[in-house]
Amino acid sequence: MDWLFFTEVTLAGLGSGALLSLTALSFVLIYKATRVINLAVGEILMLGGYLFFAFVTAFGLATWLAIPLAIAGGALFGFVVERTLIRPMLGESSISVLMLTVGLGSVLIGATELIWNTDPRALPDFMGQAPVFIGEAYVSRKIAIGFVVSALVIALFLLLFRFWRGGVALRATATDQAAAYSCGINVPAVFSLAWMVACATAAGAGLLVGAIGGISPTMGVFGLSALVVVIIGGLDSVLGALVGGILIGLVEAWAGTFLGGEYKLVTTFSILIAALMIRPYGLFGTVEIERL
């Protein structure tokens, strides 16, 4: 076995794993705060990519301006969705809200196809081309940047959860809504905040994913991989999102390279089933104790 090649594949896997972790973090944020599984996360990724594309090509903005604008667009989208669609559904069964986000994803895909048609496109290059070498191993520059940015953002999130008032309010709401209310935390505002931050994160992840693989109306499939990550890691665990993301990134890279591309999904989903059979609430998820 060629160790250099193996290292390169592993590094690429780590890179996509970091992106998966970032997307999974968006899932976890929303789930922790509002108990909603947002299946539209892949489509919000796509939205982020297309917003950036539109800002650069149609409006001719500079890249450094288009990136924050695309992320802000994601945040705005999250805010609007939470206020108009998710909040009226408070107290409905979890299937209903899940299907609501599926419908939302479908609308987003249709709208994207209507505006930009179905052709895949490459995002304008904003990362440079020169390859990166770690030791002797070659890493694509985009993947390396994706990894670093994801790692930084995740680290920032961990710090915010620990020290920022909003982060603490979010954790309090996730632990016990009623108690959070009685401590004077504005729970509806926390819901809004969680959706905004999560959708902004997803839009940012969409920029990175789009820069690596190009954008198309079908890129929301990436959200499915991220879904596997959160299910394996546990829906309400930030640590689970990190570990699961890296795990699935590595497994996808190894399976894709050594078994063949069509084995990627099957391997990850088989791991998913095995993980669920052993730990039904994911590796790090909170075990829900049911009482009569």
């Binding site: 599984i37 669609l85 009226p88 559904m89 409905e92 979890s94 299937i95 209903s96 809200v97 899940l98 299907m99 609501l100 599926v102 419908g103 939302l104 994803g105 479908s106 609308v107 987003l108 895909i109 249709g110 709208a111 196809e113 209507l114 499915l224 879904l227 596997v228 299910i231 829906l235 069509e262 999904l265 099957v266 989903f269 088989s270 998913l272 089933i273 669920l276 059979m277 039904p280 609430y281 994911g282 049911e290 009482r291 009569l292």
Partner: protein, 347 residues
């Protein structure tokens, strides 16, 4: 206003149709179903068959999701199992038509039981994701078990033959597909008047309570999976005879979402809901085509926009129903009925 409906016997109380109005409407419906093939043209007959197939599958999903409370996103995969079973038996074994359909249901039910095994430990949304995993794995099997499934190219299915007649046109297939669907819907309606159906409902309402009441959870959950995938398998079998070719891409993941959407739009946990929901979700995209044709003189690009608009309308329908009519079309029907029952008084 409805009067004089006091029931005097238990048999009357248990009847599926309790009032003479209901019986009259059901008679009208049956007459329409019988007469339809002689009135409709080929295109509408094709749609009628498609609706009937989707109704069968949606009814199955409603047994699992609406009545037992187990969310499944694998209905399309179970249909695919049925379709492949029919294709295999028709092509390589050569058994008769009705037997193939039955076999499709049984094989699917078996696969459904296998997929349902995690359902005792895994609950709610985690289970929904586990069914996605199952459908991904089944898709992999369909593309790689070449000797049985024909791999990516799929299998062509010979036309169905019944009593020496070749059933190739929608007109001929209508007379097989619609009665089978009617039988299956009737079966589902009756199911919820038996112990098994009641047990399903008890599990949906609170599974721990159901277990305390003496319902073995694993047995009944697996039974629900088996029944639901039996329905899906039969629907998939009819699908195979209808489209005459089965490939791994015939039943994409989007189809599973379509059925869950149909059940939700129709009304979770109602038989009439699965019928209305499947018909509605199948026909709306077709009606959109007429809207686009009608708009074509005004917007020259309307034709190209058809597919994205369908995607948008599909999503918007799910959202609108969930927000404004969470109990679906069934609730609308119920409201209309109540209006007539109480007329001239208002609710």
């Amino acid at each position: 206003m409805r009067i004089a409906t006091a029931k005097e016997t238990y048999i009357a109380d248990e009847g599926l149709l309790v009032t003479s109005t209901q019986r009259a409407w059901m008679g009208v419906l049956l007459a329409m179903l019988v007469l339809a093939p002689f009135v409709l043209n080929q295109y509408w007959l094709y749609l009628a068959c498609l609706v009937a197939i989707n109704v069968a599958s949606a009814t199955g999903l409603n047994i699992l999701t609406g009545f037992t409370g187990l969310v499944s996103l694998g209905q399309a995969a179970f249909m695919a199992v049925g379709a492949y079973t029919v294709a295999f038996f028709e092509g390589q074994v050569g058994t008769p038509f009705l037997l193939n359909i039955l076999a499709a249901g049984l094989v699917s039910a078996l696969v459904g039981v296998l997929v349902g095994i995690p359902s005792l430990r895994v609950k709610g949304l985690y289970l929904a994701i586990a069914t996605i995993a199952a459908s991904v794995i089944l898709h992999f099997v369909f593309t790689h078990w070449v000797s049985v499934t024909g791999g990516v190219r799929g299998i062509n299915v010979a036309p169905a033959r019944l009593f020496g007649l070749e059933l190739a046109s929608p007109f001929a297939l209508y007379f097989v597909i619609v009665p089978i669907t009617c039988l299956m819907v009737l079966g589902a309606a009756n199911l919820f008047r038996t112990r098994i159906g009641r047990a399903f409902i008890a599990i949906r309402d609170r599974d721990i309570s159901a277990e305390v009441l003496g319902i073995p959870l694993l047995k009944y959950k697996l039974m629900s999976f088996a029944l639901s995938s039996f329905y899906a398998g039969v629907a998939g079998g009819m699908w195979a005879y209808f489209f005459r070719v089965v490939t791994p891409e015939s039943f994409p993941f989007a189809t599973s979402i379509f059925f869950l959407a149909a059940v939700i739009v129709g009304g979770l946990g109602t038989i009439i809901g699965s019928v209305l929901g499947a018909a509605f979700m199948t026909l709306v995209p077709e009606l959109l085509k007429y809207v686009v044709d009608w708009l074509a003189p005004i917007f020259p690009n309307a034709g190209a926009a058809l597919s994205p608009v369908r995607t948008i309308v599909f999503g918007a329908l799910i959202i609108l129903f969930l927000v404004f009519e969470p109990h679906g079309l069934a609730e609308m029907v119920r409201r209309a009925r109540r209006f007539f029952h109480l007329w001239p008084f208002r609710t």
